[in-house]
């Protein structure tokens, strides 16, 4: 069966909340019911039909053709199925996602994958600040699943991460993996200043190191660990470059000693 296709008619005049357009919420709905779903975030009401041309298909596979940075909460809380988006999306894409597959062929705004619990989330462009991070007041960020960003990520990627895997193939901003509680985070290009700031546990791998490392990390020397080889096999389907990085000899730093100090940063090149 063909996927459900939503083709952009016009750029919306306001930010839209696309969280209703996920497979488990669309299950059992007819095309006309889907067209009447409200997406507005202001008092001016906007429904799906006004923004998209709807071509009905299997709601387990949703294709959004043409998007813009005003589309917020894309794939929020999705539990299964697949959503593919051609274009950029706004804030909190894939927030609280628990399962399924979300692919953005474009850039994502801030708080993408915020508090994600499971599933696979790919961003082919770049991600904004706070990738996987909690919103204000929440205790943990990403809690499971895999996030792959082919481009760069902004500041505080992986903030308060608790579990799961995050792969950033481009550069990352300042405070990458700040306050990490556990989980794993890889950056295949240069990381911004102070990676792993106040991390308690967890693993960060930086292929190209960071311009500025916190003095509260202790150098443990070069290692080629068996665990890394096993991990490499897990990573390979998501990122071949990340998989080959893990087979190299890596320099290990333990920290952040300013807090619990059970975390680690591995660096691919000497700096």
């Amino acid at each position: 069966m063909k996927p459900l296709v939503l083709t952009l008619r016009q750029r919306p005049k306001q930010r839209l909340d696309l969280s209703p357009l996920v497979p488990h919420l669309l299950a059992g709905k007819t095309a006309s019911q889907i067209e009447r779903i409200a997406l507005q975030t202001t008092r001016q009401s906007v429904d799906v039909a006004e923004i998209f041309r709807v071509r009905m298909g299997d709601v387990e596979r949703i294709l959004i053709e043409g998007a813009c940075e005003r589309f917020d909460h894309v794939g929020q809380s999705m539990t299964g199925g697949e959503i593919r988006v051609d274009g950029d999306v706004g804030t909190q894409a894939g927030r609280l996602m628990a399962g399924g597959r979300l692919v953005i062929r474009g850039n994502a705004g801030p708080w993408a994958a915020s508090g994600m619990r499971g599933g696979e989330f790919q961003i082919l462009g770049g991600a904004g600040d706070h990738l996987g991070a909690p919103l204000a007041g929440e205790m943990t960020g990403m809690r499971g699943g895999v996030v792959v960003v082919r481009g760069p990520a902004g500041e505080r990627a992986g903030d308060r991460m608790r579990r799961g895997t995050m792969i950033i193939e481009g550069k990352s901003g300042a405070y990458t993996g700040s306050r990490m509680i556990a989980g794993t985070l890889l950056v295949l290009d240069q990381a911004g200043p102070l990676p792993g700031f106040l991390m308690k546990r967890g693993t960060i791998v930086l292929a190209e190191g960071s311009g500025e490392l916190s003095p509260t990390f202790l150098d443990c020397g070069q290692h080629q660990l068996l665990a890394m080889k096993l991990w490499s096999e897990f990573i390979r389907p998501y990122s071949k470059r990340a998989a080959s990085l893990l087979k190299r000899s890596l320099r290990r730093l333990a920290g952040d000693m300013a807090v619990l100090g059970k975390g680690e940063i591995f660096i691919g090149k000497r700096n």
């Binding site: 919103l135 204000a136 007041g137 929440e138 205790m139």
Partner: protein, 544 residues
């Protein structure tokens, strides 16, 4: 404007009235039946219950602690926005504006914010000025402040202390004085982590007892109607009922009010070393004629504890749920914000719930026990209707008891208590008595000349439903709530007292703030014009 509320059952224990009849209001005051005049508006209250507007004497609704709690828990604001009722702690996310509306919808017309540090009084008043409909007041906190402790250390005269208390009351525009863990917060700064009634504050050499007694004498001597409002030492600890008994004994025939007594009703019996000691505590309150108490009832659910008892909150920080907290070890009392989830299946929480109800039911005189949950420390104030229902129905209590851990009930006397509150006793506890306790002679009753704050309820057998949504509420004679919904927003006043004092204290305080803080004493003052409302204050007379 002449208004008639017709044919309701008027329950006004202050004037010994409980009969079906009319209530007349002219220009914001209750009047006697006017001869011959035709009312401009008549509201039919047939089959309904008419009471004075309720008064809450202890509810943390404004000030820096409340705001710090809001800042600590932003996720609850967000969660509350789309689905206000289903969300945990949806109640703590409230704005000041909603606070006024929700109180009014339950028929409350006057609420006291009981813990304001003098240096933050301006903030509290600015926030209270944004609470619509209801009248409000603050109690100012003294007892851990450097100035008072120095006066005591230097053995200064009673008059010097009274002048200082009078000065603080006027500057902060307060209705009374509260003392929170007297000396405990000052001792906390010197790394003391346990502090009882006869312990001595390091550096100052003053005992908690001496602070409480000095403030009690000052408040009495100044003629402030509300007695000293005491938050005792050792809050929340097993065996702390003895601290409360010691404090009650120290009242010595002068008026003293004990806040949230439930949190002091714990013994050390049983396998877990934690039990209800409500019975001896209630007996002590019954025997001490000058002592009054409010309960601070616990109800199950997520809430946040906010307190100026920084020592206690520091010791409780590990119990935070969610696991985050704020301890501010600052000027005078400081503050502690610890989120907490009271759970029905938790032994300790179940005992706490039972202790509160035992106190309500075992303290015989409804004029000396006051209705509070110490909002939001025991429960949010929206839990009140359910508590009224529990007090009024033995059966309802039995239903709740059946769901609690039996080992918790075994260390309380609640299952054996058969008393049920009558509507008259509820009216006494929430209207007549608080009006008298705060010295508000024209509130809490429906006699001629009283402020026309009136709540009309459906006489529903489900008392919780009845008290949750008043059928009609009048504030100063204006209809503000109909069928449990606010129909009109207006602004209430803040109630203050202004006892006489020697002018010398003003010069002394000016010099103190210059010398100690390098600041003008202006920063303690609450100027009327900044509140941006006409007549923001109403002065309550002192007792001579």
């Amino acid at each position: 404007m002449l208004t008639r509320i017709a044919n309701g059952r008027v329950i006004d224990p202050a004037n010994n009235r409980d009969a079906v009849g009319d209530l007349w209001i002219r220009d914001g005051r209750i009047i006697e039946v006017p001869p011959g005049d035709r009312p401009d508006a008549t509201y039919d209250a047939t089959g309904k219950i008419v009471m004075a507007g309720a008064i809450d004497i202890h509810s943390h609704i404004a000030g820096w602690n409340v705001n710090t709690a809001r800042l600590l828990l932003p996720e609850y604001h967000r969660a509350a926005a789309p689905r206000p009722i289903a969300t945990p702690l949806s109640k703590a996310g409230w704005s000041t504006f909603e606070t006024g509306c929700r109180y009014a919808e339950m028929g409350f017309t006057t609420v006291v914010e009981p813990a304001v540090s003098p240096h933050y009084a301006l903030h509290a008043h600015l926030e209270l000025a944004d609470v619509p409909i209801i009248d409000k007041a603050i109690l100012v906190i003294l007892g851990n402040d450097d100035y008072l402790l120095r006066l005591l250390q230097a053995n200064e005269s009673d008059a010097a202390i009274s002048d200082y208390v009078a000065w603080t009351l006027e500057m902060s525009r307060s209705l009374g004085v509260k003392v929170v863990n007297a000396g405990g917060a000052a001792a906390f700064k010197e790394n003391v982590r346990a502090f009882s009634f006869d312990d001595v504050v390091p550096s100052y050499g003053v005992s908690s007892r001496r602070i409480v007694k000095a403030l009690q004498h000052a408040v009495t001597a100044l003629g402030v109607p509300h007695p000293l409002h005491v938050h005792c030492n050792n809050l929340g600890l097993a065996g702390n009922f003895e601290t409360a008994l010691t404090t009650i004994a120290a009242a010595e025939d002068l008026p003293l009010h004990l806040a949230h007594l439930q949190f002091y009703g714990y013994g050390k019996e049983g396998d877990r070393g934690f039990s209800s000691a409500a019975a001896p505590l209630a007996a002590a309150v019954n025997a001490a004629n000058t002592v009054t108490a409010d309960v601070g009832q616990v109800m199950f659910g997520q809430t946040v504890t906010i307190s100026s008892d920084v020592l206690r909150q520091f010791n409780a920080r590990k119990q935070a749920s969610p696991r985050k907290w704020v301890i501010l070890d600052s000027d005078a009392n400081g503050a502690g914000i610890v989120p907490y989830d009271y759970r029905r299946n938790n032994f300790y929480n179940a005992v706490q719930w039972a202790v509160g109800l035992e106190l309500f039911l075992l303290i015989e005189d409804p004029r000396r026990v006051f209705f509070t949950t110490d909002h939001p420390n025991g429960a949010p104030f929206t839990a009140y209707p359910e508590i009224f229902a529990l007090l009024m129905s033995r059966e309802r209590r039995a239903q709740w008891l059946a769901e609690l851990p039996p080992e918790a009930l075994a260390v309380t006397t609640l299952p054996a208590i058969t008393r049920e509150y009558s509507l008259g006793e509820i009216a006494t506890m929430t209207r007549a008595a608080p009006g008298r306790l705060l010295g508000l002679r024209d509130r809490g009753h429906l006699g001629a000349g009283a402020v026309a704050d009136v709540a009309v309820y459906e006489d529903d057998a489900d008392r919780a439903k009845m008290f949750r949504a008043a059928a009609l509420v009048f504030k100063d004679g204006e209809l503000v709530v109909r069928d449990g919904r606010v129909t009109q927003h207006r602004w209430g006043r803040a109630l203050t007292v202004r006892p006489e004092r020697d002018a010398a204290i003003d010069r002394r305080m000016k010099a103190y703030y210059e010398d100690r803080y390098g600041l003008s004493d202006d920063f303690v003052k609450v100027p009327e014009h900044v509140l941006g409302r006409p007549d923001p204050f109403e002065r309550v007379p002192c007792v001579s």
